[in-house]
């Protein structure tokens, strides 16, 4: 009882403190309390938008500037309720679970649990609203991509259109390339880097020769996962029969693990990689020679900042539009909203009006950023508004260009999106209800083994059989069978 109570107390306290915090935000003069009462005119409507960025000194200023435009264009005002990144998911689960009245919620497969909350009725279905109030927004995004946020044919979130295709590749600092004469063009697979790693390790034994992003290995080795990342049951890319297999039993995964194990034993990978959380610090300190993970157009510029030195990226896999990428970030309308129509009008405005969008992303011109070209800006250092989350607000292709981003970065990205192969699973939403006991148990087993195995930290000959055995006991076969069954039904209904 005590612990439960503690949680509840904690929940209540969080709620109270959030309200306090928000109360603070809402005292800007133009936002009147209780503006959502029925029968009031548009002018009194204050849309509450929960969004994920850290507290900024000038949020109120930007909100005031935003409201001037919003009031003129759609007649209501917005209350930006930002919640810091680190606590966003926890606080949103209290707010959503507590059925707090609000209008727009920023979410995604990794933020405020989009799939779970959408299936539990926390968000409104948007087909009609998009049709009536968000036509432009809808048309800007290919129809295939909309499928990625559908459940039973209904769209549940307004996608923040950005890069939807996943490509993997190397990120290597220029200095390392020069010193070790790395022929970047010759790198076409993960193995190709190996001879260089040996050289790097020999010369700098204290340096981490390579860090590999293990967040989603499966698409890279050729499998599309269904439902929650890492839960058993995936379809091989290119398999038109859509046969669901256990991805951890495949030869591709085994080969990948063996390669990682080889590198781990050779000392190319951090000894404590399974628990390490200091990758970005090491990267900044120049203690990592090669990175492997997601790459994207304009990514070199972004990564050079994260590495603290100029880097070069080399893409090695073809782009692929994955369900997990499409549902990565979006804005939903809460089912507690009193003004869903207005909320959709606002989302449409943010997604189609570059002025509104850039105001949200970069603040006020002359104060938070300066224009250096027609469509190019420079952020004012240490200004009072730098949320740095363009991808949380709306269609990123409306954003001004920053720093050295190539002029055509958005065209390149759109081209990549459109030329990439679309996963045949897009539009299929797996209902985990029938096998939720098995999923819960498998999740715990995946957590226990997957990371240690995939990073090469443990002996695969011993741990993979143990892992598979435990998954089987926990009902992995039931999950795979259920995924297959639902997939077959979905396929049949789509033909």
């Amino acid at each position: 009882m005590k612990k439960r109570t503690k949680r509840l107390v904690a929940g209540a306290l969080t709620a109270v403190s959030i309200m306090g915090l928000l109360g603070g935000c809402g005292t800007g003069g133009n936002s009147s309390e209780g503006g959502s009462g029925s029968g009031s005119s548009d002018e009194d409507i204050v849309l509450k938008w929960y969004i994920r960025f850290d507290d900024q000194e000038d949020t109120q200023k930007v909100e005031d500037a935003l409201n001037e435009i919003v009031k003129e264009k759609i007649g209501c005002t917005v209350d930006l309720m930002n919640i810091p990144r680190a606590t966003y998911n926890d606080k949103m689960s209290v707010i959503i679970g507590g059925r707090e009245e609000c209008d727009i919620i920023f979410t995604g497969s990794g933020y405020a649990d989009f799939w779970g909350n959408a299936t539990k009725g926390a968000f409104l279905p948007l087909n009609d609203l998009l049709e009536e109030y968000g036509k432009e927004t809808y048309d800007a995004i290919p129809e295939d991509i909309w499928k990625g946020v559908m459940i039973d044919g209904e769209i549940y979130g307004v996608i923040n259109y950005q890069i939807e295709a996943k490509t993997n590749g190397f990120t290597i600092p220029e200095a390392i390339i020069e010193e070790f004469n790395i022929d970047v063009d010759s790198l076409t697979s993960l193995e190709d880097i190996e001879p260089y790693l040996a050289e790097i390790h020999e010369k700098y034994p204290d340096m981490v020769a390579i860090t590999v992003n293990h967040m989603d290995t499966m698409p890279m080795i050729g499998y599309d996962e269904i439902g929650t990342m890492n839960s058993p049951g995936a379809v091989m890319i290119g398999d038109d029969s859509l046969t669901v297999v256990n991805q951890y039993e495949t030869q591709e995964w085994r080969d990948y693990v063996d390669l990682m194990r080889k590198w781990y034993e050779a000392g190319y990978i951090q000894t404590d990689i399974a628990t390490a959380t200091n990758a970005s610090e090491l990267q900044m300190a120049g203690k990592i020679a090669v990175g492997f993970g997601n790459v994207k157009p304009g990514g070199e510029e972004q990564e050079s900042i994260a590495w603290g030195r100029p880097v070069v990226q080399k893409q090695i896999t073809e782009g692929r539009v994955l369900p997990s990428m499409v549902s990565a970030t979006m804005n939903c309308i809460s089912s507690t909203s009193q003004h869903p129509e207005k909320a959709m009008e606002l989302l449409n405005l943010v997604n189609t009006d570059p002025e509104v969008y850039n105001l949200l992303c970069y603040g006020i011109e002359g104060e938070h950023y300066n224009k250096t070209g027609d469509n190019r800006i420079e952020l004012v250092e240490n200004s009072g508004y730098q949320p740095n989350v363009d991808w949380a607000f709306g269609n990123q292709f409306n954003a001004y260009l920053k720093g050295d981003q190539p002029d055509d970065v958005w065209e390149q990205t759109i081209a990549l999106n459109e030329s990439s192969e679309v996963s045949p699973l897009l539009g299929f939403a797996f209902d985990q209800e029938p096998v939720q006991n098995q999923i819960a148990q498998c999740q715990s087993i995946v957590d226990q083994y997957q990371k240690s195995i995939v990073t090469g930290s443990v002996d695969p000959d011993q741990y993979i059989p143990e892992f598979l055995d435990k998954l089987e006991q926990a009902g992995a076969d039931d999950i795979i069978a259920e995924k297959q069954k639902q997939l077959d039904e979905w396929k049949a209904s789509n033909e």
């Binding site: 059925r99 539990k120 819960a440």
Partner: protein, 309 residues
């Protein structure tokens, strides 16, 4: 305090009533909090038997009987995590209580008041640290490349990948964090012992050791039993911070660090199911309650006056 039956007519009863009224008023804020935060939420336990959906609300969601309990009891890990939870807690209770009594007695032997205050503060301090901070302190010791312990040993032990050390590390961390608090509680009741006992012991020619054994320890017994009973009530809970943050959530260590709370967190993180998590919470509470009642019964049998109720 002895309860005197109120008698409307007597003067004494009037004084008593006045006294009880003041006392009742004083406890009122605490009572209200208790009611709000400990009794009111009990109704929420009904979620354990519901398939809760936000759009249907509490009343509209379907009743599902014991379905929410299934995932936990069906799992092959239920045994391991229950065993870990209970064994660790038994070690925690025994180690902190014995440690606290020993430290309290030692503190009592120190004559310099300044020294006592110093030791008290130093021992009490870790109790106020959050486990997030403790986890970093432990990490500073155990990091494979830069850790204090590896530099001292001159070896490269990957502590976060070696199961055999954790059954010692975890109780040690818990002891370091909690013993100070219990020491102070017991030390306080040690100071409260009437000096006439010591005088009597001195007249009888008891040695210092005999005084400890025959005067202090028996008089501390009720306090120790009470602290123990309170801890028994939590025997089915694993401190989430201790078991999740301190071992850095390393998968390889789960067989020795996983407890009910961390297990359930991991299982349900993907599902976010209100009903299933409430079900496990209810299970933990019920078992905890039964254990307290049993422990209290046993205490009553051996020393009536030490029992809680």
């Amino acid at each position: 305090m002895k309860y005197v039956k109120p008698n409307k007519k007597s003067h004494r009863a009037r004084v008593d009533r006045k006294k009880t009224r003041t006392l009742t008023l004083l406890t009122l804020p605490a009572l209200i909090l208790l009611l709000l935060f400990n009794y009111l939420p009990i109704f929420g336990l009904a979620y354990a038997f519901k398939d809760y959906r936000y759009d249907k609300g509490f009343w509209g969601s379907d009743w599902v009987g014991f379905e929410n309990f299934e995932f936990f009891f069906q799992s092959s890990d239920a045994f391991t995590v229950t065993r870990n939870t209970i064994l660790y807690n038994v070690i925690f209770i025994a180690s902190t209580l014995i440690g606290a009594v020993i430290f309290a007695v030692i503190l009592n032997e120190i004559t310099s008041r300044k020294a006592v205050k110093f030791y008290q503060n130093v021992m009490f301090f870790p109790y106020f640290l959050s486990y997030a901070v403790v986890a970093f302190i432990v990490y500073a010791f155990l990091n494979v490349d830069y850790g204090v312990l590896n530099s001292l040993l001159g070896e490269k032990v990957n502590w976060y990948a070696e199961q055999q050390y954790w059954p010692f590390i975890i109780p040690l961390v818990n002891f370091w964090k909690n013993v100070g608090y219990n020491t102070i509680v017991i030390y306080a009741s040690l100071i409260g012992i009437d000096s006439s006992y010591y005088e009597a012991a001195a007249v009888d020619g008891a040695t210092r050791f005999q005084v400890i054994r025959h005067v202090m320890l028996p008089l501390l017994r009720p306090m120790v039993i009470m602290l123990g009973l309170i801890m028994v009530g939590k025997i089915f809970y694993g401190d989430f911070g201790l078991f999740y943050m301190v071992p850095q959530n390393a998968g390889i260590l789960y067989p020795v660090t996983d407890v009910i709370d961390t297990y359930v967190y991991r299982c349900l993180r993907a599902l976010g199911d209100v009903g299933m998590s409430t079900a496990v919470g209810l299970y933990q509470s019920v078992v905890g309650f039964i254990l307290v009642v049993i422990a209290n019964k046993i205490t009553k049998k051996y020393s009536e006056e030490s029992a809680l109720f």
